[in-house]
Symmetry: C2
Subunit: 153 residues, 2 copies
């Protein structure tokens, strides 16, 4: 999971770490955070997105599969999302990167380069909260695939 | 917001209270919790749902408007959800009750009595987490209606 913005501001950091540990029981999982590019009140959203997009691109290596968490993305339910994860596992994907953008979303460059997009909800949630939602959902996906009772609770 | 299950188990209690306080800046908002009806390993889901449904019904007074948070409910985006809230405010609704069910969902009795259902996501989240999601979304709705900058952050 690759995110934009400071981690220290996230009040759900403990919960995110809790899920990250549990995800690691099934597959190696890391959270990486690049700093956001807000430089002051006069910052222009398109410039911020572009700067963040460039920082994000530096994190991506050849062979990585990238999925953007985007409000215009495909909606999955928990079961179909777990099947997506399984599909990537079965196809020998070395590294699957889910990117959660900053406050202004993704740059055009990033968005067009990575057309694979998913959305967690039709509703807009804070970018900090999306990290928590996503980690819970990814953990849930693995519990579904491994028939662990968590996903029925 | 009316919920089923122990509050003490909710690791996001502080965050929920934080949003509850902020919602109260716009409208009186209370969280009420009835205990779940798990009585042991041999409990039958349909019986649990029925028992919980009866406890929930006792909380509802004449004139209350009830909306169930249900995975089969209508999907809203944050803007259309805020307009729903506004509609209820403008129609003089005395008390609007959002019910988050227990682990097994709602009883048939409750579900058929209250056809007004919304869903936050196609994905399944833990019942504890839904409380946090919902409070954030209700707060967001009021910030949209009052043009508070939160909803753009």
């Amino acid at each position: 999971m690759l995110c934009v913005g400071k981690n220290s501001a996230n009040e759900w950091l403990d919960s995110i770490e809790h899920y990250a540990k549990r995800i690691n029981l099934y597959a190696p999982f890391e959270v990486d955070i690049i700093s956001d590019s807000k430089t002051g009140k006069k910052s222009i959203p398109s410039q911020i997105k572009k700067a963040e997009g460039q920082k994000l691109l530096q994190k991506i290596k050849k062979g990585d599969v990238v999925i953007l968490l985007d409000e215009k993305g495909m909606a999955y339910n928990s079961l179909s999302f777990s099947k997506e994860i399984q599909k990537y596992q079965n196809s020998g994907t070395q590294r699957l990167i889910f990117i959660i953008g900053g406050a202004f979303g993704f740059s055009e460059e990033l968005s067009s380069q990575f057309p694979n997009k998913i959305r967690l909800s039709d509703m807009t949630f804070s970018h900090q909260m999306i990290r928590l939602f996503f980690c819970e959902q990814l953990y849930r996906a693995f519990t579904i695939l491994h028939n662990h009772p968590y996903h029925n609770s």
